[in-house]
């Protein structure tokens, strides 16, 4: 009895410690990004950083440090990815949770989870040799290394997250809602769209946000598949260089302590803030619509 209580307490403390530690690590990372990032502004003006679309720290002439183009690129690629992944992902989740037979589900589920295990380099490679050329052919472009290519690949990469989380959310909707709807003469589709999906709203939002986080943070795939041109993109058919790609490409070469080095931390800090912002918004939406039984 005594020892059981002790173990209980010890475990509680352990979890508390783990939670505190992860918060500290998070704060530490952000603090590190911020401290280094701020130093960039000793030599770069805030106006240039936030309002110029010209990023060329390794310039032949005068280096420039404007992030507008890569910020826009990041949003463009992520937005495109979500346009593809959200309907597909929620559709698949609804199918798995509501329509599919147990047997079908048993086959599909592991395949979808396997999708998450494909290394991003491989996805990037598929983007170069298959998806890109396909896009080029369909839309009559000279090459497919475009924002669209990145969006498609990122959509595929965020699908497992979206499907898994959304399926759980849909599955957790009480069966009584479904029966209530059927009893009023609703068919499967109506029941799904009018009752079940609205009831699992918060979980689905969480799924989308998690998928979006995956897409925004993904580096290798976009690095390989979107062409990385520095020019401001005019749409999905232009090559783009995202924030993550920029950091990945340039961080390896910069000598410590240079303006270029610090500027990459500034980009990293901004990326961190964006992710944080998205998560906070998501929490908010989720809390607002949470089902209280």
């Amino acid at each position: 009895m005594q020892s059981r209580r002790f173990i209980d307490r010890a475990i509680k403390q352990l979890f508390f410690l783990a939670a505190t530690l992860s918060v500290l690590v998070l704060l530490g990372i952000f603090g590190m990004l911020l401290m280094n990032g701020i130093k960039a502004f000793e030599h770069i003006s805030l106006t240039e950083f936030f309002f110029s679309s010209n990023w060329n720290p390794a310039a032949y002439g005068k280096p420039s440090y404007g992030i507008v183009a890569m910020l826009f690129s990041t949003f463009l690629v992520t937005f495109g990815a979500m346009c593809i992944a959200v309907p597909l992902g929620i559709g698949a989740a609804a199918y798995l949770a509501q329509v599919a037979q147990a047997k079908t589900r048993l086959v599909l589920k592991p395949i979808i989870e396997l999708l998450a295990a494909i290394p991003s380099v491989v996805v990037g490679f598929i983007g170069i040799v298959m998806v890109g050329p396909f896009i080029a052919k369909v839309f009559g472009l000279s090459n497919g290394l475009t924002a669209l290519n990145g969006s498609i690949l990122l959509a595929v990469m965020s699908l497992p997250t979206i499907i898994t989380v959304a399926e759980d959310a849909i599955r957790s909707v009480p069966n009584s809602f479904k029966e209530g709807s059927y009893a009023l003469g609703a068919n499967q589709w109506t029941t799904l769209t009018k009752v079940i999906l609205p009831a699992s709203y918060s979980g689905i939002i969480a799924a989308i946000i998690l998928g979006m986080g995956r897409a925004i943070g993904e580096t290798m795939t976009v690095l390989m598949a979107t062409g990385n041109a520095l020019a401001m993109p005019h749409g999905f058919f232009d090559p783009v260089r995202t924030m993550t790609a920029t950091i990945a490409i340039e961080l390896g070469e910069v000598p410590y302590g240079t303006t270029h080095y610090y500027s990459l931390f500034a980009v990293g800090a901004l990326l961190f803030l964006i992710s944080l912002g998205i998560n906070l918004i998501a929490e908010n939406i989720a809390a607002k619509y949470r089902y209280k039984a």
Binding site: Q101, P174, S176, F177, K178, E179, G180, S181, Y182, A183, L184, G185, A186, N187, T190, K194, V195, P198, A199, Y291, K292, A293
Partner: protein, 251 residues
Amino acid sequence: MKTKLQVKDLHLAYGTKKVLKGITMDIPENKIVALIGPSGCGKSTLLRAMNRMHDLSPEVHIMGEILLEGDNIYAPGRDAVDVRRKIGMVFQKPNPFPKSIFDNIAYGLKIAGQHDKQQLQEVVERTLKSSYLWEEVKDDLDKSALSLSGGQQQRMCIARAVAVEPEVLLMDEPCSALDPISTAKIENLMLELKKDYTIVIVTHNMQQAQRVADLTAFMYFGEVIEYAPTEELFGNPQVELTRNYLEGNFG
């Protein structure tokens, strides 16, 4: 007396477990029929068979017929959605959708293609009035139905079922989770609704069956043991098993 619903030699199994073993009973129009019997004897199962609710569970096997005004609701090609529109159901536990009161009640009409705001408003008001809920909620139609009390939720669910104007209303222990006052309100409501609907109710409450039902069926282990006008069944049961049950010897 016109027969509304006719159950003919109905067998039902969950997988290999036989739960209904040849049920046959006629349910007359504009009457209330109560199903009583010990827990697990198959009352809910029979009720759910009456509006094809079992269609959702692939492991359920059904044999036999249920005729709605002479047409088998299990006939091949018969649309389950259409059957359920004619045979509505109220569940044991109130199950309002996480939507506003208005949207809950308008749901059945909206999905049937009725989008005229004015008309929806009319129906919502009428059904809420008929379920004696109007006075309590008329200012809160936009509020979440989940904010209602249990008794109010159940009356709203009845209003919701009535709003689509079914021909038959199935109720599975609709008062089991409610206090006596709410229960009394719902019993009154049933007697009121009887004018327009045929009602089948599952109940564990003998007094309730006696108060509302015109006919009562006693079920035992998947069979209808005795089915008679309520007064006869309670006053002078013909079968030993029924008498034992009513005297409280088991169940």
